[in-house]
Every structure is written in C-alpha cells, then in structure tokens.
Symmetry: C2
Subunit: 483 residues, 2 copies
Amino acid sequence: MSTPILYRQLADHYLSAIQAGTLACGERMPSVRKLMQLHHISLSTALQMCRYLEAQGWLEARPRSGYFVRQPRRMNLAPAAEPRPVKRIDPAQFVGIHERVSAIIAQGQRQVKVNLARATGAPELYPHQQLRQLTSSILRQHPYLLTKAISPGGNRELRAALAKRALDVGISTRADEVVITHGCIEALNLALRAVAHAGDVIAVESPTFYGLLQVLESLGMKALEIPTSPHTGISIEALELAMQTYDNIKAVVVVPHLQNPLGSIMPDTHKQRLVSLCEAQHIPLIEDDSYSALCNADNIPTACKHWDKSGNVIYCASLHKIMAPGLRIGWMLAGRWQARVDMFKYAQTRYNEELSQKVAAAFLQSTHYDRHLRRLRVTLRQQREKMAEAIARYFPEGTRFSMPDGGVSIWVEMPAYCSSQAVFDAALEQGILISPGLLYSNSNRFDHFLRINCGTHYSEELDAAMRNLGLIVAHQKPRKAVA
Amino acid sequence: MSTPILYRQLADHYLSAIQAGTLACGERMPSVRKLMQLHHISLSTALQMCRYLEAQGWLEARPRSGYFVRQPRRMNLAPAAEPRPVKRIDPAQFVGIHERVSAIIAQGQRQVKVNLARATGAPELYPHQQLRQLTSSILRQHPYLLTKAISPGGNRELRAALAKRALDVGISTRADEVVITHGCIEALNLALRAVAHAGDVIAVESPTFYGLLQVLESLGMKALEIPTSPHTGISIEALELAMQTYDNIKAVVVVPHLQNPLGSIMPDTHKQRLVSLCEAQHIPLIEDDSYSALCNADNIPTACKHWDKSGNVIYCASLHKIMAPGLRIGWMLAGRWQARVDMFKYAQTRYNEELSQKVAAAFLQSTHYDRHLRRLRVTLRQQREKMAEAIARYFPEGTRFSMPDGGVSIWVEMPAYCSSQAVFDAALEQGILISPGLLYSNSNRFDHFLRINCGTHYSEELDAAMRNLGLIVAHQKPRKAVA
C-alpha cells in the first residue's frame, strides 16, 4: 500500500517543478536509474511515477531516449470565448426551465455508473469521520436534542462561528445578523422574496446556475440574462445598459467567485463597481458566495459585501460545497432587509434542526476546518488538472474551455453543432450522467456546453467514462449550417 | 425511589375507579389503615396517595372522618362558548400579525422559568434515547451520510413509512406521492403557493394557529376568518355563506383534529360535507393533520383526505408534535397539485437532510412507535387533567374552557375584560411564558383567551406558576363596560 503513495508524492514533486518552469518543456527528465538513486526507490516505483505523469500529459516517452517534459494537451485548446458585445437586452420569457431540470433529474435517477453532473466533491473529500464523531459526542452532551422543540433564531454558536468566518472574505458582521437557512437555495429564495415580487425582472449572469432560474420561475419573476465573461464574471457594461433600458429590474444576482458554471472570478475592481452601480440605482445586489473557499490561492477573495456601506448587498453562502454536502446548511446576511428576511424564514420553514447546526458549529470552531479546506483545495486542483487533460485528450477538435482557478467543475464548450441534450441522452445510455448546458439559460445559447464535475478521484473507470464521453461528442453531427 | 412510583400507581388505580363511577361523588374512600392492609403499603405511602388525589381535586379531607370523593373543580366551570351566528363575513385586513408574534417571541427569549406557550410536549415525553441510538447506528451503517450530496426526492424509506402510516387515518397513497418538508409549516407554504397567489383570499378557522396567519401574511394572501366551534370545528354554514359572498376564495385551510388552539375535533359528517362543498365550489381544501395521533381514543380519527375523490384535498402533517420536536420533519400529499408542489419544494429548499429522515423512518418502522404513542396519549391525558384542575382552582370566576379530547394544550377564556397582552406581560415578569389569545386572529376577538400548554409534568414549580397566573388574571380590572 505504500508504493502508490510514494510514486504519487514523487509525481507531485516533479509536477511542481514542471509547472514552475524549473523543468522546461522539451527538457529531458532524470533517467529512471537516476530517479532510483536520487530517491532511494525501486525500479517499479520510478517507472510508475513516469507513466503516471505521461498519462496526465506532462511527460512524453521517446524510445531509447527516456522521458521528456511536454505541455499537456489542454494547453493547446482555445480558451473559452468572451461573450459577444451586447446591443439589446431582452428579458427571457418564462420557458419552463423547471420542467427541463426535472426531466434531467428524473432521468439521472437510474442506471448511473459515473456521475459527472454533481456540483460538489465526492463524499470522501469531506471530513466524514470528524463530523460523525462530533454528532455522537453532541448527542451524548445533549441527550434531549432530538426531542426538544427548536429554540427560535438559529443556533447561537453556529451564527457566531459563521460571523467569524465572514471575516475571511472581508465582511465584518455580528452573530445576530446571521440567518441560518436550508441551503443556499433557501437563502436566495428569501433574498428574492424580500426585495421583489412576482412579475419583477431580476438581472442574472448568463450562463447561470439552473437552481437560480428555477427559483425565479417558481416565484413568478423574470430572469434578465446579462452576458458574463468566463474570466471576469458579469459584464458591468451590459448590466449598466440593461438598467438604462428597463426600469423594473428589482435585483441583481451574482456568484462573484467561481461562478457556476463558468468558474470565473470577478476582479476586485469589478466587484467595487458593481456594488456602487447597484447602490446608485437603488437596486439590491444579491451575492451567492458558496464557492469562494475553494479558490486555488489560500487567500480567499473579498466578497462584494465588503464594499457595501448601505446594507444594499445581501450575502448568501452555504457549507455544503465546502464542508459537508449531507448537511443542508446555508446562511445569509440580509443587510437592510434583515427584518423581512427574518419574517419570511420564520413563516416559511422555521429554524434548521439543532443537531446539524451544532455539528457544523463545532467543526467550524475547530482547527480541523482550515486543515480540511487546504487539503480539499489541493485535491480538487489535482483532479481538475486530470479532468482537463482527459477533455483535451478525448474530446474532438473545436472543444474549448478555460481552466477555472478553483472549484469542482469545468465548463466545456463543444463544437457549435453539438447538442448537450443529445450528448446527455447518449451518455446516459452508457451510465454516464452529465450536466447539459441547456440547463444554464432560459435561452438555448449554451446548448453546446457541458458542466463536468471534477470532484471525484481520477480512476480507470472515470478515464473510460471520459473516453466514451469524448467519443459521443465526436460522433455528434452538424445539424445545420452554423453562422 | 420506589415509593413515589407506588403511590402514583395506586392513585391512578383509584382515579380510574372514581372516573368509572365505582367510587361515586360523596362516597368515603377506604381509610388510611384499610389502604395499608389492602395494598401492603406503609402509612406514608397511603397518606401520600390520598394527598396527591386531594391536590388534584378528586378527594376532599374531612377532619376526623377521612377522605371523600368529590368532583374536580373544573366540572363546575362553564364550557367554552360556541361562536356567535354570522351575518356578514369580512376578510381581515393585513394587520401585521408577524410583528405581534415576533414581539411575543422576542420577549419570550429571556428569563423564562415556566414555559406554558409551547405547542409540543416536554422533551422527556418523546423517545429521545431510541432516537439517539438510531442516529448512531445509522451513522455507523452509512459512514458517508453527512458528506454525501442528498439524493433527490426525499428519503425513500421515510416516504414509504409515512404512506403506510397514512392508512391509520384512512388514506391510501403511494410512497412516491409523499413529499417530505421542513416541518408542517413548509407543507402549508407549499400548498398555499401551489393553489393561490398574492392578493387571494384564503378561508381559515377562527381562532387559528398564528403560524398560519403569518404564512398568509408573508405570501401576501388575505385570511378570511370563519367562525369555528370549540367542539365541532369550522362552521360549514358560515363557510358556505362566505363562498356565496366572495368569489375570490382560493383555498380553505382546516385543522380537523385537535384544532390549534381550540382542541375541537370535526365529526365525520362535517368532514364529509366540507370535502364535498370544496369540491363542488372548485376550491382546494388544505388539511393540517399534525395532531390526530394525540387524540385520546386509540382509534385515530379519519382524515378529510379519506373522502377526497378528485385530488382536491392537500394533506399536510408532521412528526414534531407526536414523535420528535427536535426533528423538523413534515410531509404532505398534494393531490392534483403534486407537480407544482414538487417544483416549489425543489426550488425553495431542496430536500431534507438524509440523517434525520433515516432516523425517523427507522423509528416509524419499529414497534416502538406505537408503544410511544400509547404512552404519550396517557401521559398527556393525565397532564391535561391536572392543568384543568389547576385552572379551575386558581383562575377567577367567569373563566371558561372545554376539555379537549387529546392534544397538548387547553384554550382558556378569561373574563371578557381581561387582556391577554397584559396577562402575558405580567406573567413574564414572574418568569412565566404564556401564549396570548391575540395571536390567534387578525382581529382582537380572542384577546381575552390564553392557550396553555399541558405537555410538562405537573410539578410543584408548575403548580406555583399556575397559582401565580391565576392571581394575575384575577387582578385584571374591567377596562370598559362590556356589552
């Protein structure tokens, strides 16, 4: 059992050197014999390491010459395109996004062998053992926890722990301003209900997470899709234009960090401009910041809420992507809508169960949390690299994507004639579940995109699935002339 | 430790005989000496037993003659009044019920020694130990439960267990029709959102649970309060009149069994008429059946949904009043609105956490559940008797109430000049939290009522609190001439 770990450690060591440029593209790797001497390893370990890096695209074997450093294939792919400049902004009509999503979800319930549709990491990437231990120990300390009526307002310790964590993204707040919700999705619901009514227009990023489009549909609100860059997030210019064109925009919703599905991260200057623009226009800004702890750098980016001086920004976040997908704990800071949000939360679902709140609080307060996050970031980075390489290796010419600077997924643009629905159907036939681009807009603009999860350990099974998926995409035929 | 249990067992034995008429009112109890011989008990146990029954109002000590059977004082109180016949029905205006409720809840956060405001039993009345054990054992069986993304649709076993339990109230349904919610309050939200919009009128019982009034307020719907009998529930005649008067009634919401706060139970004939009326008028009927398992008789009453042939009845219920107040598990059967409810549930809060669903399912499937319910019903009955006796003993002349045939509370009418807000304030000064009648209507019609919780073991502390509460009520002064 120790050999695989050793070859992996060495592979990471050489990968760092390659990425840092210490070993440049085209240079020769130390020979297998040299590696054995240098690291006191067996022949098989040395070979394992080299083959592993070769499989990932970082080394190339030349007969009788040894291994040479190369650029991974994904470097040859074009980066994701910027959205086209906007001339006119139209609020998308109600097109029944929920039915699309439900149909996809219902189909995904059966025969899935490889799930690439998730928006979280695999269960083993999260601190399952510690959370289990905390659950047992909290139940021992509070024997009546499951049979005691829940006290109003959400668990005090959790609210305090989250207020403290908000400092990491530059927000200074108090525990009693933290509203605990059933996932970030409830936070978004409450935020939207607090600031807008049925019939109102809400500006959103395009593409955006289908969950948000469903929330808007279920509340009878209209999504106005604003072009969004895969690198810098929502286009402030397009948003300004939209605000000039429509006088019934009642909120703007953004995911500033690791936007779902794009993976973009807004530069600080953009975030500042966005906060000022919304404040000047008296339009509330709703910020969904569920992913920022998964950014590559250990410096977590600064939330829009940081620049909010008037309570115009509603901050929403959750723990299920970063700490425990099985706990449905979201939270929010509702700014000047705090009283309305408190009322809606109480009238809608009362308070979350005490046990999971206590477990989350205990874990957040421990030193395990930061350690877990550091480990999670490293693992996800490695898995994204491997998935990117697989896409580059197996997908047909014309495929494009930009490597996100963190997170659990990659947003892939297939050749324009591909249909994500057709790819979805064909993949499901083989037990592979993907998240088709058509879910990410009320328009069909992203029908040739896929969101691919990178939260799972790159196994042979996963490699086979990626190869099959690549074949499926490659077999798509142009349906009509593309403009 | 064995003596207190012994005297209680004996007291229950003699209480049964008194309630059955075997020992009639005015008859002499066996002497203390006789009791000692009969039951092989000590003098102190015999005396303890007699004093206990005396304290509850069932025995009277006459100097040098011994103990005599008597009617408890509560038998002398007038029963709760029927609502006045209705001439005109007016939808109540938005009066900010949430602000009232929030103020009351916020005040109740501090300095409470005795909580009479609850709508559940005390934590020790529920199967805390078994639920804890199930939690641990489920976490052992499913080590990744807390870190695994929740699978769509709600836990299969829990839905099956609840579908099976629905048979008890005469409903035949399938597991996949059961929607699991965050408490009954979310079920009511989803039901109302599925059938009505902001601005619509919803017919409700009067008085009704403030939670429902808050839901309506938060959704921008108007409550039309229909007079409701403390014995037979909502007045079908008044409801018919309302339907003739208003053409924008979009739903009727009732709690047919152990109505909150009245405690009334609708006769089967009324339920049948109600179901037919709503169907004939094409108005959805929403049934909140959270309490029926707490009815005295072991024959749980039949739900309105039983008579529903067209899917016009939405059935809502929960486990937190009957099984585990700390688990926020509600559920519903949405009839012909199933697809809409599924959509709203998914878009609003996704699915409940897997762990508590699995725990609830395991407990429901076990034989412990029925045993727990039987025990809970007996305990609550005894506690209601004691609280009723305390009200009769300590509250001033003019107090009225009807003993409910189950449940966790008693709805008490104080003399008409009393203000439940004033009583609330004065009681809170002494660390006693009550639930004031003004919360149970958008009007001030029930300002001289209190809902008193009977879910707690009748201790000396509770007796002292009831005495103090009685004094507070007795000290209320008529504020104005009462019509």
